[in-house]
Symmetry: C2
Subunit: 144 residues, 2 copies
DNA sequence: CTAATAAAGGACAATTTTGTCCTGTTTATA
DNA sequence: TATAAACAGGACAAAATTGTCCTTTATTAG
């Protein structure tokens, strides 16, 4: 469904959000450790999230990544996925046809529209805050 | 969503089914041309479909690929996808965690279960016959 | 029986994705 | 101001996926 990069990106963002709720800034090293991801690769992905204003980065000692409390409400999964994987989960034919639309649909076109619509709704309606608080309360997990 | 291999596989299977409705056996060359796919790669994928009894192959002159009329009803998209991509669209955590289940769910676990359930239902309930006849009637397309 | 046709399959090549390493830049603090 | 911590970013490496080529095997028709 998502690329590895995107999976790491989401996990990283959720972890950063969780720590930001405690007022803690976190380093790439800590993030990679806590979400069990390759550190240098994770650093690249965090660059993308930073450039897309999904997370905020601070250089130098005491620096690291953080997310403002209000941004946790604004940022949803759809934004993270778009920042990393682009809009390819939304766009393009499910069977790989170059031209496929309501006028000249592939055999799966309509069924794909439905599935994608579900996915889109889910991604757009899930905020980082919701995910982080689930973790905080101990209802969900990020590792293993 | 699907791998390229799987996209080609589905398109090939639908094309074979369509031609089989007319009693025509088709060669890899013709298939690749008609579904606009790389020929040698398509041949490999057809081998997988053949080994999984999704399509039937006949060697030698007048040979080629075909699908029995009754098999078009039995074969659904889920079977094709499984034959090529395995069950990775159904199995495994959406965020890539090694252990993720109802007991120790990742933050997206429940929402993924829903999306996947939709997808699974769609794939299982869509038969090759349904797809082929849509093409036949001119409602859908396989090329471009 | 021979020649031609078509799938099967092994080996290899190109591309994309995933992942690493190293150098540079920013910045807090002693 | 020097040092060290931490992100930014370029270049490179490994692995997976996609794609090609060529030889072998089966089968039909002349």
């Amino acid at each position: 469904m998502f690329s590895k990069a995107c999976e790491y990106g989401i996990r990283a963002a959720v972890y950063i959000a969780l720590q930001s709720l405690d007022g803690r800034r976190v380093s790439v090293t800590e993030i990679a450790e806590e979400i069990d991801s390759p550190i240098a690769f994770t650093a690249k992905i965090l660059q993308q999230l930073t450039r897309n204003n999904i997370v905020h980065s601070v250089k130098g000692p005491t620096g690291g990544f953080e997310i403002e409390r209000e941004d946790m409400d604004k940022v949803n999964l759809s934004m993270i996925v778009k920042a990393i994987d682009g809009d390819k989960i939304y766009v393009g034919c499910g069977l790989g046809l170059k031209e496929c639309n309501a006028d000249k649909p592939c055999p799966l076109h309509d069924k794909f529209v439905d599935i994608r619509s579900n996915l889109r709704t889910m991604l757009k309606s899930t905020s980082l805050y919701e995910l982080a608080t689930g973790l905080e309360v101990g209802l969900t997990y990020l590792k293993r």
